[in-house]
């Protein structure tokens, strides 16, 4: 209507996805900036020309502190730490993403299934709880080393750690959603089950799935870094943040801090950004519905 105040038309747009995205950017600039940083980091790692070959040792240079030539310095073999740190981003983040997507792909359907069929699922849920009591990092260690250090096993290990978490989360969300009055209204309208899941259940758990996914991603980055710190998973000379921290840790004491610090900083930044993003998503979620 022509007479409606500007504020009015602004609020009307909130129902459209594009308007929602704009609102999200306005409400959480830091989280959005962080997400942008991670995307640029991955793209740079894949496509940008690096100043030096990340896997090429350079005995002539040897170990050297950060300088104009080597922004993050060089490590004990003389390889450029900056090039290696950026190159490791794709290695680490792609594994983390793959693990997260796999746990999402299995955990969410499992959560939906266990919330619809409750009789047999109670035992499954209890089994998963027992499974979670097992020290998961040790499980990942065993799996990856038994497989002969295969990278896909890192992905499987991350999925195994996170599937029970997704299942529990989705299950509890859907169970409480089923009690919602508007779900009763869909039955009274005669909405078929597939449409109910698509139009009523999924949109209402989407926010919490997204928030959990970013958290899982952060957790996966830490797990991968831990594994490669312990020498499992990504094997040198392929750069990964964990193995770089490990190789640099022995130099810390003699004052060559840059070798471990920069990859460590990247792990920290990525995890922090993903946590911020998760917070932002859950916050946005509650705000747009109330």
């Amino acid at each position: 209507m022509a007479t409606s105040p500007p504020n009015d038309s602004e609020r009307t747009k909130a129902a459209k996805p594009t308007g929602q995205f704009r609102d999200f950017v306005q409400m959480h600039p830091i989280a959005v900036g962080g997400a942008f940083f991670i995307v640029v980091l991955i793209l740079a790692s894949l496509f940008a020309p690096l100043p030096y070959d990340p896997e090429l040792p350079n005995p002539e240079v040897g170990i050297s502190p950060p300088s104009a030539d080597h922004w993050f310095g060089t490590d004990i073999t003389g390889a450029d730490v900056f090039s290696r740190t950026i190159a490791a981003a794709w290695v680490d983040l792609s594994l983390a993403l793959a693990g997260t997507l796999l746990s999402l792909a299995i955990g969410v359907p499992l959560g939906l299934a266990t919330s619809v069929k409750r009789r047999w699922s109670d035992n499954l849920v209890r089994g998963m709880d027992a499974f979670q009591a097992f020290p998961l990092l040790i499980l990942a260690l065993v799996l990856v080393s038994l497989s002969g250090n295969k990278l896909y096993m890192v992905v499987v290990a991350i999925a195994l750690i996170n599937i029970p978490r997704y299942m529990r989360l989705i299950r509890s969300e859907v169970l409480s959603l089923r009690e919602a009055r508007f779900m009763e209204a869909t039955t009274a309208m005669g909405v078929p089950l597939p449409r109910t899941l698509r139009k009523h259940v999924l949109p209402n758990v989407m926010g919490i799935i997204t928030a959990q996914t970013t958290l899982t991603m952060a957790n996966a980055i830490v797990v991968i870094a831990t594994l490669s710190f312990l020498g499992i998973g990504v094997a040198p000379p392929t750069p990964s943040w964990g193995s770089m921290i490990r190789s640099g840790s022995s130099n810390m004491i003699s004052g060559e801090w840059w070798i471990a610090l920069f990859p460590g900083l990247f792990v920290l930044i990525c995890v922090w950004i993903l946590n911020q993003l998760s917070d932002a998503i859950s916050d946005f979620n509650t705000r747009t519905t109330r």
């Binding site: 209507m1 409606s4 609020r11 009307t12 747009k13 909130a14 129902a15 459209k16 919602a180 009055r181 508007f182 009763e184 209204a185 039955t187 009274a188 309208m189 005669g190 909405v191 078929p192 449409r195 139009k199 009523h200 949109p203 209402n204 747009t288 519905t289 109330r290």
Partner: protein
């Protein structure tokens, strides 16, 4: 033939912890004609909302038949039931909770059309949604809003729009105005009355408050612990309540008539637990100031007291006199 006929329907739940059975609805019969409003009155825990859900088949009755347009709904499968649902709708008490918070008003109101009028294309649907929104007193451009951006009264109008868009013949109104403030309540009641006149709707109006329904309904049924105790034309029941429970309910309401002088009646104690309702005898017996031994001996059935006015009380004929006579035992005068 009545539009809706409930025939001896019962619904029991197992109490939490597995001990005991809750008789939420016990052998209830009720009928509603086309275009008529029947008010179903009772306290919380009386089983009135359960009865509404049984009519809508959101719950399955343990016994009895729910005949809607002559068809027994309890015998239909999911697909057949879905077709009936276009003509049998519901408006819930909590307007916000009954709307999906992530769907726009337009999507919410058009959803019944998508399910029930598949031949309709999206532009026809949009026109129909706009008409319906206007009919319930909302601006057509509120179609793009989310439920959370509307007031309680507007949300309830959306709930009503969703219920009427498929041209139903019966709407179950489950306390549609209880969570609204008084001025909005009056608007919604007026809207419901207008819609009934324009569209020839029948309502099953569930409420705990007699004064809300007395001006919008033709007939009234009073429910207590899963049973209907009195039913009849609204004027008869309110002017001359024959069941002591109905009288107690009327005593608790604020009257707008200063000259009204029905004797006040107070029941003894609180509403009993539906878990320990006995097989025989009147459900009100433990609380009734008029109770006699005969009340506890056999099941008290609804019996005609006057034309169309049924009462489940063996002392129905003497209610007023009995109350006057026993004014010392829990009965007061105005």
């Amino acid at each position: 033939m009545a539009l809706l006929e409930l025939e001896g329907i019962s619904k029991q739940f197992h109490a939490r912890g597995g001990k005991g059975i809750v008789r939420a609805v016990n052998d209830v019969s009720l009928s509603i004609d086309a275009g008529e409003t029947v008010a179903l009155i009772g306290e919380s825990g009386s089983g009135k909302s359960t009865l509404g859900r049984l009519v809508l088949r959101l719950l399955e009755p343990d016994q009895g038949a729910v005949r809607f347009e002559g068809i027994d709904l309890t015998k239909l499968n999911t697909k057949e039931m879905r077709e009936v649902r276009a003509r049998l709708q519901v408006v819930f008490q909590e307007p916000f909770e009954s709307l999906n918070p992530r769907m726009s008003v337009g999507d919410i109101v058009s959803e019944p059309l998508i399910i029930h009028n598949r031949a309709m294309n999206s532009s026809e649907r949009e026109i129909r949604v706009r008409e319906t929104l206007e009919r319930v007193g909302l601006r057509p451009d509120s179609a793009t809003r989310l439920p959370g951006q509307l007031s309680g009264g507007q949300q309830q109008r959306v709930g009503i729009a969703r219920a009427i868009i498929t041209n139903p013949s019966l709407i179950v109104l489950d306390e549609p105005t209880s969570s609204l403030d008084l001025s909005v309540r009056a608007q919604i009641l007026t809207l419901l009355a207008d819609l009934q006149r324009e569209l020839g709707l029948a309502y099953l109006f569930i409420s705990h408050d007699i004064s809300t329904v007395e001006y919008v309904s033709q007939r009234i049924a009073v429910m207590y612990l899963g049973e209907i105790l009195e039913t009849g034309p609204v004027t008869d029941v309110i002017k001359d309540p024959r069941h002591p429970y109905t009288r107690a309910l009327l005593s608790s309401r604020l009257s707008t008539d200063p000259n009204e002088s029905l004797p006040r009646l107070r029941l003894i104690g609180d509403i009993g637990s539906p878990t320990d309702v006995r097989e025989i005898g009147c459900v009100l017996a433990p609380r009734c100031p008029m109770v006699i031994d005969a009340c506890r001996d056999r099941k008290i059935e609804l019996e005609p007291f006057a034309p169309h006015h049924d009462v489940a009380c063996i002392r129905a004929a003497e209610t007023s006199d009995a109350l006057l006579a026993s004014s010392s035992s829990g009965i007061e005068y105005n």
